[in-house]
Amino acid sequence: MSYDKRQWLDDYFRAQLKEYRSTPPSKVWDNIQSQLRRDKKFGYTLGGRLLAGLLAAILIGLWWFDTSEGELSTATQSVDLSQENTTTIDDRHSLNSTVVRTEGNPQPLPAQIAEPPQAPTKEHQPNSVNKETKLKVYSQSPLFPSSKRASQFASSTTHTDETPTYSSTHTPLIDASSPHATVVGSTAKAMTSGYSSSERSISDIIHLLPPYRYRPVQSITAPVQAPLPIGGSDCMKLVYRPYQHRSIEIGVGPFISDRLLYTLDSSWQGLIFKRNEAESQRRSWNASILYRWSVARDVYIKSGIQFHMLREQFRYQNGIDVKYIINSNGDTIKRIEKPHYDIFTNRYTFWDIPLYISYTWGIHRIFVDLNSGITFNFYSQQRGYLYDYEGKARPMHALLEGGKAPFRRFAGLSLSLSLNLGYQFHSQFGAFVEPGVQYFLRPLSTEAYPIKQKYVFYRFNLGVRYTLFE
């Protein structure tokens, strides 16, 4: 072909086809729209909601810690004052003694110290009268020691020093006989302003003491262990035990996953479409064993080991099988084309260490745990076959040079949110169902592989809880 003819042919095709326009079917836009929505929904909505949820859980947790430690309870109590038998609360300033002392000689009632706002009466009544007083508990927040509440605590303490007899600064005590009692730290100091009367039961007083770290166990009568500033005979010692619930949870169940494949290199986009089209879910399961311990009232930390086995089936079209139906004369009477598929089932294993903050509600034997936190993925690997850039099915470990698997990671991070709905059959045994979601923050493919892969797991586990001790 001469140069002119070649040129003529090229020019002709260019003239006819360069500006050639053709109207695409409307379904193309629908497909684009759904793809964009899927990307947006996955990338922004879900990730954003999970992040917002986790952040909210953390903020609520911090708020709860702060407020519950700051003002733990307010109770209106009936005060019965009797000349013969008036009970006041005297609190030693040592860290490990709280006493309720019954005195023969009534003392004048205390002036209201800095808090609470309603002051109890100072007036001494010869006969039994009912008086209303508000009792508040203040404490120093361990999270925010320099906060306003800490200063309230300090001012109250100062006032307490001035009137030690009638102040009622409570500090949870140590009971050496209790097998689980431990020394109370200085940050656990709390103070009850106001006073109490002999009519009040010990349990009333117990409820006024800081519940966020200690739970009342029993009250015993014991001799006074330290000299009192004023005279007295009988002393009640209140025994507290730190919240130290310990239990083990074992859960197992199925899960489904939502996968996000993306790449910053647009040339791989076609392969991503192909993989997404080819994928279908198979049966996947997970199991976990978690240790659960209390850090405050109704607040627990959970951690342990979690395992996921994800099974994905890929069905790739690989060429077209053509069948010819030939008659006795050897003529082809029919030609049947059928797509040929390569089918692989890949297995993806994940080993995780979750770290959850859990808040618990309980009604009788029913309990609900709201768990949120992070999950550290220390090993994940996908095994099986994938199509490579050239469209050839290859074993996963041979996709990259040097035999490196593209989907093997030793450090991943995800956010988790789950809910335990359970029933306590026995003091030690309970069972629960646990729906949950886990969102991977980091892609699970190696840095060298241009296709990044993230997952969201939706779990539904069944489990049992065994309480080691309360």
């Binding site: 003819k5 003529w8 326009r21 695409p24 040339s267 076609g270 192909k274 079209q317 050239e390």
Partner: protein, 169 residues
Amino acid sequence: MRGDEKCQRQLYELYCEEAFGICRRYARNDQEAEDMLQSAFVNIYRFLHKFEGRGSFSSWIRKVIVHNCIVYLKQHRHMYRTIEISDQHYATEAADSAFSNLEKEDLLKMVQQLPDGYREVFNLFAIEGYSHREIADKLGIAESTSRSQLTKARRLLRNLVIKSKNLVL
């Protein structure tokens, strides 16, 4: 634009016909062209922020679509067996004159019938105006391969014209 469906739709309506025309030239059939178009527009929306304002927007879109088509074909090549057609001599004067009577759709169908490599090179060289060196870079082939594939593509096209017109050689 990235999250605004209305703007995305407007952009699509503005360029979809031109884009689909390009995709059809590179694709083997219309189904494949639709896939290419979908993939191309998703990429356009995704990488719209990379358009730096140098040159016209329509030429940027055109480049993205062409690039996308090439990548798509590269990734889907395994699905079709490439038939190597022997380099026969079909050229006649009659074939040349036959071109002028063909409709655009007919020409397009001829281009679609070319083997992948030939079609890509022919589209890039004859229609898009790329040089052999640029084509070699884009497709990851040697320049000489590009040249020989172009020659074969031209001959095949001429052959197809002859067949379509039932011209007797």
